[in-house]
């Protein structure tokens, strides 16, 4: 009876290859792997043809799906290879770690808070030894970087004799010299190692002769040299609480395998490791060719001759640096120098595609899934939406049922905070029945799906439940309006009713007219284009019916005592609300609004900008006659008024809240006269003071209009028609020209010549 402990680093092609060789020569009759025993039932799926690493074992609490644990595996992970070996050989394989049911329970238990009894306390600066044991070994070997050192010593090693013995010895020495630390993490390690030992003992009791144990190198010493008595471990593990957990496989990706993504046992170069795994002898050549292909696609020459040069430089560089085989650093330097002509920008691409890589795994359909995920998968299949990590754009035509359903699905997922699809920009510009979506799946979204499973068992149910919950918590009207729009777009009628009801009560309570004014345009938009979306917008109409009168009542008060900046903001709102009210096409609203504007225009103390804008709106809507407008203008521009106030009035009148047009001034002699007189009456200093504002007003007009205005101003009187002096008219040509003109105007040619 013998126990063989193989200490590995998670995700290392060299470790994986050496492990396969070692297992083949050992021919164990049982394999124990570091990992949660809850995953035991899922192990047979590893050899399923549909299983494509990188994948991760996900352990979650069905009652609190936000609490999850993830164990990622790549093709080149030693554990993965060991499990594959065991399954192919038909020997039993099981995980041996502390069950996650207990780990998750520990997180809540007070046991974790009890400090360890330590004999010494570590001096400052030595704390890193437990977290990064490799760095210590590397430093002992005279290398600064643990990752590079391990890669050179272990991952790129071609001959693996005694590798695991050496690792075991190194780690034993390291653990003996390392000063124990006290941290919750460290305490958890105690339980974990006890659990591993207990699993090994159980296997021994079951009568297995050659037990192979695969674990992280750090744990190897305490598993290889177990105390004879199991009493201590039994005591430690006794009485640990448990929670209910479930396990499943989820697809993972290379980018999530990197340490940069926040994964503790992450590696820096998954894609490079994949090359090393597939072509242990010639990884350099394969990788150089891959780099050349990538750069060719980006417009670099990258000829075969250059690939040869790259490979040669790689070898020379490793010789200059005293390395037995070229590493990633040599490859990168060589590619930058030869293929990329010294530039560093293309290397970012190489880094992303060929070092990290964008591969994404897949799991067999029979892997257990949470109900929400099952529903999502069903939708993905029904709507023919492939799940890829590459971004893709969809231009949806919402008149098509299939496209509409896709839009609903993405909107629902957004409500669940699963941003698989992101709405694009072109929506409104291209017409209301178009939606542009940018769709990109990310593996962490699979985790989000599990986390949000608590809201319901189908996408629609969960989205509705979450929306209602959000609505109850929201106290800001604009945020709630946004939510209402989202819910309507997601076609969730039940949730919409709840959200709109909440919107109505909140709108009623809101004292701030400005907030109501900000809300209305959004709601008007929903209402106006609701039919196209086939969403029932009657409920919204009810809210709008309540909001418009409130605005009309509150507006005069809201426009009092505003400074310039506030007046500018209010001016913008006036314009948007007016637009929204026109959009609503409801006479009652329009009348009430115009009445309010008329009141407002006459209000004393109104900022000039708003007064001018109101006057213009009344004029444009045809509510007031031209003479009345001229009276208001002449009143506002009377010399008794402050020049600043008058200039602001003119700005409001001519520009409104958007880009103005001077046509009105050009064609209305009376208005022109008033402006002209006012400008003429200004004192030189007052004129200078108002010049910037005037300039801003007039600068917004089209160049042609400005030129015409300039000419008109020079002549000193309005001119509506160009002067025509019939000095030299060739009367023989007149009938011909008249005939053509008549044809253009669609008149009877005959009638004209007769006349």
């Amino acid at each position: 009876m013998s126990v063989h402990v193989f200490g590995i680093r998670h995700h290392g092609p060299g470790s994986a290859r050496s492990l396969r060789q070692a297992l083949a020569s050992l021919a164990p009759d049982i394999l124990l792997v570091e990992g949660p025993p809850e995953g035991d039932g899922l192990l047979p799926l590893v050899t399923s043809p549909q299983m494509q690493p990188p994948v991760a074992l996900l352990i979650y609490r069905p009652d609190q799906p936000a609490q999850t644990a993830v164990y990622p595996f790549a093709l080149f992970s030693p554990e993965w290879q060991a499990i594959t070996y065991a399954l192919q050989q038909g020997i039993p394989v099981q995980f041996m770690d502390l069950p996650q049911a207990q780990v998750m329970a520990l997180a809540e238990s007070p046991a974790l808070a009890e400090p360890l009894a330590l004999e010494e306390t570590p001096p400052d600066g030595e704390t890193a030894v437990v977290q990064d044991p490799l760095r210590w070994l590397a430093e002992a070997a005279g290398d600064s970087d643990g990752e590079t050192w391990w890669e050179r010593m272990v991952e790129q090693r071609q001959h693996s004799d005694d590798l695991f013995t050496a690792i075991l010895e190194a780690m034993t020495a390291l653990r003996q010299s390392a000063i124990p630390l006290d941290s919750p993490w460290q305490r958890q390690e105690q339980w974990r190692e006890a659990a591993m030992r207990q699993t090994i003992r159980a296997a021994q009791r079951a009568g297995y002769g050659r037990i192979a144990v695969v674990c992280g190198a750090w744990h190897a010493p305490v598993l290889a040299d177990m105390p004879a008595s199991a009493q201590a471990d039994r005591d430690l593990l006794k009485g640990l609480a448990k929670v209910k957990v479930a396990a499943t496989w989820i697809p993972w990706s290379y980018s999530r395998l990197t340490a940069a993504s926040g994964y503790g046992a992450g590696v820096t170069s998954p894609r490079w490791y994949e090359h090393l795994w597939h072509h242990p002898q010639e990884a350099v050549y394969h990788w150089c060719v891959a780099a050349a292909h990538l750069l060719r696609g980006e417009g670099f020459v990258a000829s075969t001759a250059q690939v040869i040069d790259t490979a040669r430089l790689t070898h020379t560089l490793s010789a200059v640096r005293h390395l037995p085989t070229p590493g990633l650093r040599e490859l990168l330097d060589a590619v930058q120098t030869t293929l990329a002509a010294g530039q560093s920008a293309p290397m970012l691409l190489v880094q992303r595609q060929l070092i990290v890589g964008n591969a994404m795994g897949a799991v067999p359909p029979e892997a257990p899934t949470v109900p929400l995920q099952q529903d999502l998968t069903a939708w993905q299949k029904r709507l023919r939406l492939p799940v890829t990590e590459t971004a893709k754009s969809y231009d949806l035509d919402l008149r098509q049922p299939n496209d509409l359903a896709r839009s609903h699905l993405w909107h629902r997922l957004r409500l669940l905070d699963i941003p698989w699809g992101q709405p694009g920009q072109a929506g409104r510009a291209k017409g209301t029945f178009h939606e542009v979506w940018r769709v990109q799946w990310q593996p962490e979204l699979a985790v989000r799906v599990v986390e949000t499973a608590v809201w319901g068992n189908t996408v629609a149910e969960a989205a509705a439940a979450r929306a209602v919950d959000l609505a109850q918590k929201t106290t800001e009207l604009p945020a709630l309006t946004g939510l209402a729009q989202q819910v309507l777009l997601a076609d969730l009628p039940a949730a919409a009713a709840a959200v709109v009801a909440r919107l109505e009560s909140l709108a009623a309570l809101t004292r701030d007219t400005a907030v109501l004014m900000d809300t209305l345009p959004e709601l008007a938009h929903i209402l106006r284009y609701g039919n196209v979306r086939q969403t029932d917008a009657d409920m919204v109409a009810q809210v709008v019916d309540g909001i418009v009168p409130r605005i009309c009542i509150g507006l005069p008060g809201a426009c009092l005592s505003l400074n310039d900046e506030a007046a500018g903001a209010m001016n913008g709102r006036l314009g948007r609300v007016a637009e929204a009210i026109h959009l609503l096409q409801k006479n009652a609203h329009l009348t009430a609004w115009q009445e309010t504007i008329r009141k407002l225009a006459a209000q004393a103390g109104l900022p000039g900008l708003l007064a001018g804008h109101c006057c213009r709106m009344l004029f444009d809507a045809g509510v007031e006659e031209r003479t009345e407008t001229a009276r208001r203008m002449s009143f506002a521009l009377s010399p008794a008024n402050e020049p600043a106030q008058a200039a602001a009035w003119l700005d409001g009148f001519l520009r409104g809240s958007g880009r103005g047009s001077g046509v009105l001034l050009l064609h209305d002699a009376a208005l022109w006269q008033i402006v002209d007189q006012w400008l003429g009456s200004l004192a030189a200093t007052a004129f200078q003071a108002q010049l910037p504002l005037l300039r801003r007003t007039f600068a917004s007009f089209p160049a042609a209009e400005r030129r015409q205005m300039g000419e008109q101003a020079r002549r000193g009187r309005p001119q509506t028609a160009t002067m025509f002096a019939p000095d030299h008219v060739d009367m023989t040509h007149v009938p011909l020209a008249l005939a053509v003109a008549a044809q253009l105007l669609g008149l009877e040619a005959q009638g004209v010549t007769d006349g």
């Binding site: 250059q306 040069d309 430089l313 560089l317 200059v320 650093r329 010294g342």
Partner: protein
């Protein structure tokens, strides 16, 4: 002391080179004086087992120097690229000195560089008297380097007209130089290679043809990463130059160098050293080489007209000249910088006053 104004690298550092050659036990590529590792040691500096100190020639990325040396050990030529004043020629000279013991096989690229400078020319008196004979041939530095298996250097490769540049293609790919007039060719001896330099700042240069480009490995020499590295470069070079020029002045205080380097880095980067305020950048490169010449110029002023100690007014004129390349735009940039940054900074009052005096 020698009367030569500036010695070649192999003469100036002859002691270091011979000590290195003696201590070097690693395999050397054919016709190399030193092994690649020892060449790197020569350039980057260090200490030999017997205690001989090797001064650093290039302060910067070890990685780049290793790539450059590894390139020369393959059959590809080396192209050093960078803005003016990033030690391209300096590195190329020292590489040639360390590898071949001879940095004088040099072609200076200009708009008027003829093909003869790259291939060969003729001694016309002999040509007329004897006809085309090997004795009438005047070999170019490249041809000599090929015959002797040494490193040839081409300065400012992109200034050479495109058709002349392309005559390098045969040399670099076939490693031979045909002489049709004699019905002969010169075949390169092992150890031959080419180091070219080019700057990527100037406009109106002759871009390399892609056929030629692919025969070069490109190493881009950057401006120094950190202020400390740049201060170190300026300090070492000023000390060396001061010796060469036999300036009686005291070596400049580190603080003074640091001020110059700070000004250069701030103006170059367009942001103050603390990263808090944005400033305009002048049109010039403001390279480390220019910082060195400002300090050396200041030293010379201090030695001959001052009290022998480098003071701010000794450097003000040099600074103005280095920063203000465009008389209108750059002057505004400089004045703005003086008023907003230099004036406010603690302990920079003297420099501010000196600069104001010169700038007017």
């Amino acid at each position: 002391m020698s009367t030569i104004l500036r010695e070649h690298a192999e003469t100036q550092f002859a002691d270091e080179l011979s000590a290195l050659a003696q201590a070097d036990e690693r395999p050397r590529p054919p016709n190399w004086r030193l092994s690649p590792q020892t060449v790197a040691l020569y350039l980057l500096g260090g200490t030999l087992p017997d205690g001989t100190a090797i001064s650093p020639k290039y302060i910067g990325s070890r990685r780049l120097i290793e790539i450059a040396i590894a390139t020369l050990a393959t059959e590809r030529a080396l192209l050093l690229l960078g803005v003016p004043g990033t030690a391209k020629s300096w590195v190329s000279e020292h590489l040639a000195a360390a590898i071949s013991g001879d940095s004088t096989r040099l072609v200076q690229g200009t708009a008027g560089t003829p093909e003869e400078a790259i291939r060969y020319g003729w001694n016309y008196a002999r040509l007329l008297a004897e006809g085309p004979t090997p004795a009438a041939l005047v070999p170019s530095p490249i041809m000599r380097a090929m015959q002797q298996g040494t490193i040839a250097r081409i300065e400012e490769l992109t200034r050479i007209p495109a058709d002349v540049q392309d005559s390098l293609i045969t040399v670099l790919s076939e490693k031979s130089l045909p002489i049709p007039e004699l019905g002969q060719e010169v075949q390169a001896v092992k150890g031959f290679n080419v180091i070219a330099t080019a700057n990527d700042r100037d406009r109106g240069v002759n871009e390399l043809s892609s056929a030629l480009k692919r025969r070069f490995n490109t190493v881009i020499l950057p401006l120094p990463d950190t202020a400390d590295a740049e201060v170190e470069i300026v300090r070492l070079r000023v000390a060396a130059l001061g010796q060469v020029l036999e300036l009686p002045a005291e070596p400049p205080a580190l603080a003074e160098i640091r001020r110059i380097v700070t000004i250069f880095r701030e103006l170059r980067g367009g942001v103050t050293a603390d990263g808090k305020s944005k400033i305009k950048s002048p049109s010039g490169t403001l390279s480390t080489a220019e910082a060195i010449s400002v300090v050396v110029g200041g030293l010379s002023l201090a030695a001959h007209y001052g009290d022998g100690v480098l003071r701010s007014h000794d450097m003000a004129a040099g600074l103005l000249g280095a920063v203000v390349k465009d008389p209108v735009q750059d002057r505004l940039v400089w004045q703005e910088y003086l008023e907003t940054v230099v004036k406010e900074r603690d302990g920079w009052k003297d420099l501010y006053r000196a600069c104001r005096e010169v700038t007017g």
